[in-house]
Symmetry: C2
């Protein structure tokens, strides 16, 4: 079953390449023996830096299942996920990740996954992307507004 799902993800990647939509990456989310979300990289076509295959597959699965958590679901991706997609898998409560190509394979064809991973492992001060803090009390006031609201839900 793992090979059938991965073969499908690889076919999605190939379809994206044929369309010229972005990098050569495909992904799907499977739950209870069914494919519930599919994606291929559409960064270039969609003009969307977040449109990685895994993100699109996770988003489609959540839409289809009508919930923001996918507990028990597996993510099949044709390349080890970048930190954005890996964090998204955590937020989505993905249960297991199956991957084919490695991070260094993506680096070898010019993608930044490895460098971004290295950046995120540095302290905030050491990272290339500078960060500045301001207006914390005003933001905390909105946290309090949320705590006091009837509709609050953590996720």
């Amino acid at each position: 079953m793992h090979e059938i799902y991965m073969r499908t993800a690889i076919d999605l990647a190939a379809e994206g390449v044929e369309r010229g939509d972005g990098g050569p990456f495909g992904a799907l989310v499977a739950l209870d023996g069914e494919i519930v979300g599919r994606g291929w990289n559409r960064v270039v076509a969609a003009k969307d830096p977040t449109a990685h295959a895994e993100m699109l597959a996770i988003r489609e699965a959540a839409q289809r299942l009508n919930r923001c958590h996918l507990d028990g679901a597996d993510l099949y991706t044709t390349c080890a996920p970048c930190p954005m997609c890996l964090a998204a898998a955590h937020w989505a409560h993905i249960g297991r990740i199956f991957y084919a190509a490695r991070e260094e394979d993506a680096a070898a064809i010019g993608f930044d996954d490895g460098e971004i991973r290295r950046q995120l492992q540095l302290s905030a001060e050491a990272q290339r992307l500078p960060r500045f803090a301001l207006m914390r009390p005003e933001a905390l006031a909105v946290f309090q507004l949320w705590r006091d609201s009837d509709q609050r839900r953590t996720y």
Copy 2:
């Protein structure tokens, strides 16, 4: 100017709370003195685990500017970005990040940012979310297809 933008991001966060759309977080992208993307957390309302304020603001900015890189743009966010949003900022070539609340403030109201950050700093083997490798050669064949294609663009 920084305070005006952050005040706007905080107002976006408050609007999201009033609507019950998700967590109390807002963000915007500014470029050359203009706001080009806005977002508030819509995870609950959109049933989308990736619908963080920063992701929506980055996606809107890229759409509006019709390109997947936002070089020179600043991201204003009412809370220090989670690893998903931080990695997205790297992919989008965001120049600077301005944030208000801290990671520990998000943790104090029940959000997982800190735990996900800790997970991503562990080795792949030590992370909670298990990963399994298969079919690398077949995925690399699609990388080669992409390398041979006329339309390939890295980003």
